[in-house]
C-alpha cells in the first residue's frame, strides 16, 4: 500500500492559445490575436528546465491515471501565468489569468476527482485579482491561489487586496518563480545578477523567497490577516534555518521599530508560511534530513513538480527525517489547504 500523498505542485498548461480565447470577451480575444500575443510555452518550466524531446504535456484525460501512486489530491498549478510578472499591460495580464482559470476549471477539474485548482492571478492589479479569487470563493474545486512575484515585496500594501481575499476564503497563496527574476524590469532583482550565466538564476532564486518572507513577517501581514497562509513553491528549503535565525536575531535587536511583531519571527513563519519541496538537486539527503529537523514540523510539503519532476516522491520523502515523512507527504498539505482538498463533493 502506497503512502498517502497530496501533490502540492502539479503543473498544467493550455497547449494552444485557441483554447483560451473562448474564455475572454470577444474584443479581448481579438486583441490577443491582433497583437500576436505569444502564449508562454507550457513545455517550459518558468523556474528553469523544460520537457525533454519526445515527451508531451500531460493531457487531462490521462493525467489522473499517471499521478504518483497513493496520490489523494493534486493541486493544479497553471504555470503559464508566471510570465505575467514581466509584462506591462496589467489589464491584459488579468484577462489572461481569468482565461487560464476557466480553461483549467472546464478541461481539467472534471477529468479526475482528485484534481483541485490553484487560482491563477496576476499580481499587477490586486483589485482585479481579488475579484478573480472571489469568483472561485465558494467553488470546492479551487483550493489555493497561485501567482508570481513582482519587485514589490509581499508585505507592502500593494498586495493587500489579494491577501484579504485569500484570507476571506481561507485559500493559501502559492508563489512560484517566474523565470524573469533578475533579468526583466518589474520582477524581483536577484542580488548581484544581471542577464548572465544560466546557473546564476538557480543559485540565487531562493533570495526572492527570503526577501518576501522577511517582508511579510516584519510588516505584520499575518497580524492583520491571521487566517492567511503563504506557500513558497520552487524556491527550495535548505536555506531556511539560517534565514530564520537571522529573522529572529534582527528582531531581538530592532523590535522597537516593528513592535507589532510580538512573537519571534520564526513563530510567524511556522504558523503562516509553507514550503513546497519539489526538487532536491544535489543537496545530500543526509543534509536535507538534518536541515528539515531544524524546522517546524508543519512547514514542508511535497510537490511533484510534474511534468518537470526531477525527483520521485519516494526520493523526496527519503530525504526527510522519519518523523516528518507522513507530514510532508500528506498531513501538512491537508492542514494547510483544508477540507476543500479532500472533499468528495465536486461541482
Amino acid at each position: 500500500m502506497s503512502e498517502a500523498l497530496i501533490d502540492c505542485e502539479y503543473h498544467v498548461a493550455a497547449p494552444d492559445l485557441q483554447l483560451l480565447l473562448p474564455y475572454m470577451e470577444k474584443s479581448w480575444a481579438a486583441r490577443f490575436v491582433r497583437s500576436r500575443f505569444s502564449l508562454p510555452l507550457g513545455r517550459e518550466h518558468p523556474g528553469g528546465g523544460s520537457l525533454t524531446e519526445g515527451s508531451s504535456l500531460p493531457d487531462p484525460a490521462t493525467a489522473g491515471a499517471a499521478l504518483a501512486a497513493g496520490t489523494r489530491a493534486a493541486l493544479l498549478v497553471p504555470h503559464q501565468v508566471m510570465p505575467v510578472a514581466g509584462w506591462t499591460d496589467t489589464l491584459l495580464c488579468s484577462v489572461y489569468a481569468t482565461a487560464l482559470n476557466r480553461y483549467v476549471r472546464e478541461h481539467w477539474i472534471p477529468a479526475d476527482r482528485r484534481f483541485r485548482m490553484a487560482i491563477a492571478i496576476s499580481p499587477h492589479e490586486p483589485e482585479l485579482a481579488a475579484d478573480e479569487i472571489d469568483r472561485y470563493g465558494e467553488d470546492v474545486s479551487a483550493a489555493a491561489i497561485v501567482m508570481p512575484l513582482l519587485a514589490t515585496h509581499l508585505g507592502q500594501t500593494h498586495y493587500r487586496p489579494i491577501f484579504k481575499a485569500a484570507a476571506r476564503h481561507r485559500l493559501p497563496v502559492i508563489v512560484h518563480p517566474s523565470g524573469r527574476e533578475g533579468t526583466i524590469v518589474g520582477t524581483p532583482v536577484l542580488s548581484g545578477m544581471g542577464p548572465r550565466h544560466a546557473g546564476e538564476y538557480h543559485s540565487l532564486i531562493w533570495q526572492a523567497a527570503v526577501t518576501n518572507i522577511a517582508s511579510l513577517v516584519y510588516d505584520g501581514v499575518f497580524i492583520d490577516l491571521p487566517d492567511l497562509r503563504v506557500v513558497f513553491a520552487g524556491f527550495g528549503f535548505e536555506w531556511l534555518p539560517g534565514v530564520l535565525w537571522h529573522l529572529d536575531m534582527e528582531w531581538r535587536s530592532l523590535r522597537i521599530d516593528i513592535p507589532w511583531v510580538t512573537d519571534p519571527p520564526s513563530v510567524y513563519v511556522a504558523r503562516h508560511i509553507r514550503i513546497v519541496i519539489d526538487d532536491l538537486g544535489l543537496t545530500p539527503p543526509e543534509a536535507s534530513r538534518q536541515i528539515a529537523n531544524m524546522l517546524a514540523e508543519g512547514l514542508l510539503m511535497w510537490g511533484s513538480n510534474s511534468p518537470f519532476a526531477t525527483n520521485s516522491a519516494a526520493e523526496v520523502l527519503d530525504a526527510m527525517p522519519e518523523k516528518l515523512r507522513a507530514k510532508v507527504a500528506f498531513g501538512n498539505a491537508a492542514e494547510t489547504f483544508g477540507s476543500r482538498l479532500l472533499t468528495e463533493a465536486l461541482a
Binding site: 519587485a151 548581484g192 540565487l204 526577501t211 535548505e238 534555518p241 543534509a287
Partner: protein, 379 residues
C-alpha cells in the same frame, strides 16, 4: 569596601580583561575612519570641489532617510574615544579598547568611507579620492600600530585605475589585500580580469563587504526583490549582495581563470554557504554556469577560493544546529573570524570563538586567515 572604588562613565567599563592572551586573533573586518576633510585636502583642487561630505564620517552615498536606523546610530555607543569623535576614529583608543583587550594580532581595515564612490560619475575624482584615503589609512592607522592591516580601496568604475592603484601600493608594508565597492561592473565580468591579474601578481586577496549603499544606489547590488521598507528588513537581507558576488565569481569562471585568487566575503554571514553551494552544483550539473565552461563543480572553486567571516554570528535556538551548517561549508578551511568593530552589530571575539566547535577555534581565529593573506600579515 568603602568609598568609591572607581566611578567610570567612560568606555568599555565592565568588559573583562584580555581573555584571549593564549589565542591570538586575526580580525578580517575592522572599521576605522579617517578625517574626510584631510582626505579631501589632499585631492587636486578641481576634484576637491566635487566631493560632498555629509558628515565627518561619510561621503554622500545612501539617501539618508531610506530605511532609517531605529535607534539612530550604527556604531557601538560605548566605543566613543576618550578624546571624542566617532567610534573608530581614534587609532590609539582602538588599540587599547580593541586590539589589546582581545589579543588581536592583526585587524584588516575595511574602509566604509570608500563606498560612496559608487555613485560618482567623475572617474578622476574617484581615483584621487581613493588614493588620498588609502595613503591616509597607511599613515594614520598602520603607522600608529602595525597590527592595523591595509586593504587598498580601488575604483569600481575604472579597471585600469584600479590596476594602477594596486601597483602603486601593493608593496607598502601593512598592505594585505584590496577591496572594491561593488558597483556596475559585475565581479564575473571580463572587464575585471586585469584587476584580478594585478592582484594575483602581487598575491593580494580581494575582500568584499556590504557597502552601506547596497539597495540604495542604482549601481550597487540590490537586495532581492527591490526596495526594503524598514531597516530591520534591510538588515536581515544584508547577506544577499555577498551571495550574488559569490555566484558571479564562481559561475562566470573568474575563479577558474585565476586559481590563486582568494576572495573574502566579509559580513555577509555564512549559514547560507553550504546550501547555496549545493544549488550551484545542481545548476552546473544541469548545464548552467559559465555557459558550460566550468570544468569542475562550482563547490570546488567556492571551497578553495572563497572565505567567509563569522560576523554576524548565527544564533540558532539550538546551538547544535550550527554544526551541520559549519560542516556543509567545510568551515575548518573557509571560515575566518571578524568582529565588525566598532559597528553596533559587532561580535565579541571570545564569545564567538567559544561558541564554535572546539576543533575549529584555532583555525577560525587565525590559521585560515594566515593561509588566506599569507606572509603579508607578518604573523
Amino acid at each position: 569596601m568603602n568609598g568609591v572604588s572607581k566611578v567610570s562613565p567612560g568606555v568599555g567599563t565592565g568588559l573583562s580583561k584580555p581573555v584571549a592572551a593564549a589565542l591570538s586573533i586575526v580580525d578580517c573586518d575592522f572599521h576605522p575612519f579617517v578625517p574626510l576633510q584631510e582626505v579631501i585636502a589632499r585631492m587636486p583642487a578641481r576634484a576637491r570641489r566635487s566631493v560632498q561630505v555629509s558628515s565627518y564620517a561619510a561621503v554622500l552615498g545612501r539617501e539618508h532617510n531610506r530605511f532609517l536606523i531605529p535607534t539612530g546610530e550604527p556604531l557601538r555607543l560605548d566605543a566613543v574615544p576618550t578624546r571624542g569623535g566617532l567610534a573608530g576614529s581614534d587609532p590609539a583608543f582602538a588599540v587599547a579598547d580593541y586590539l589589546d583587550r582581545w589579543g588581536i594580532a592583526a585587524a584588516v581595515m575595511m574602509p566604509i568611507q570608500a563606498m560612496g564612490v559608487i555613485a560618482w560619475a567623475a572617474e578622476e575624482v574617484v581615483n584621487s579620492y581613493l588614493a588620498a584615503m588609502n595613503d591616509l589609512f597607511l599613515e594614520m592607522w598602520h603607522a600608529e600600530d602595525p597590527r592595523f592591516k591595509m586593504l587598498i580601496s580601488v575604483s569600481p568604475h575604472d579597471p585600469d585605475a584600479a590596476v594602477r592603484e594596486i601597483e602603486r601600493l601593493a608593496d607598502k608594508p601593512g598592505v594585505v589585500g584590496f577591496q572594491i565597492p561593488m558597483g556596475e561592473i559585475g565581479l564575473g565580468s571580463s572587464a575585471m580580469f586585469k584587476v584580478y591579474a594585478a592582484a594575483a601578481h602581487f598575491g593580494l586577496p580581494l575582500v568584499l563587504h556590504p557597502n552601506s549603499v547596497d539597495c540604495s544606489l542604482q549601481n550597487s547590488p540590490s537586495c532581492a526583490g527591490r526596495v526594503t521598507r524598514s531597516y530591520a528588513e534591510h538588515h536581515v537581507l544584508l547577506s544577499q549582495p555577498g551571495q550574488g558576488a559569490a555566484t558571479q565569481l564562481v559561475m562566470s569562471g573568474a575563479l577558474e581563470r585565476f586559481p590563486t585568487m582568494r576572495v573574502v566575503l566579509a559580513e555577509f554571514g555564512f549559514s547560507w554557504v553550504g546550501p547555496m553551494m549545493w544549488r550551484m552544483d545542481t545548476a552546473w550539473q544541469r548545464g548552467g554556469g559559465a555557459d558550460g565552461l566550468l570544468p569542475r563543480p562550482p563547490s570546488e572553486y567556492l571551497l578553495n577560493q572563497l572565505r567567509f567571516t563569522t560576523q554576524p554570528y548565527d544564533e540558532p535556538g539550538n546551538p547544535r544546529d550550527l554544526v551541520p551548517i559549519l560542516d556543509s561549508m567545510q568551515a575548518h578551511r573557509t571560515l575566518v573570524f571578524s568582529s565588525d568593530y566598532p559597528h553596533w552589530d559587532t561580535d565579541r571575539p571570545d564569545v564567538v570563538l567559544r561558541r564554535l566547535p572546539v576543533e575549529l577555534r584555532e583555525r577560525v581565529a587565525k590559521q585560515t586567515a594566515m593561509e588566506t593573506f599569507g606572509t603579508r600579515l607578518g604573523l
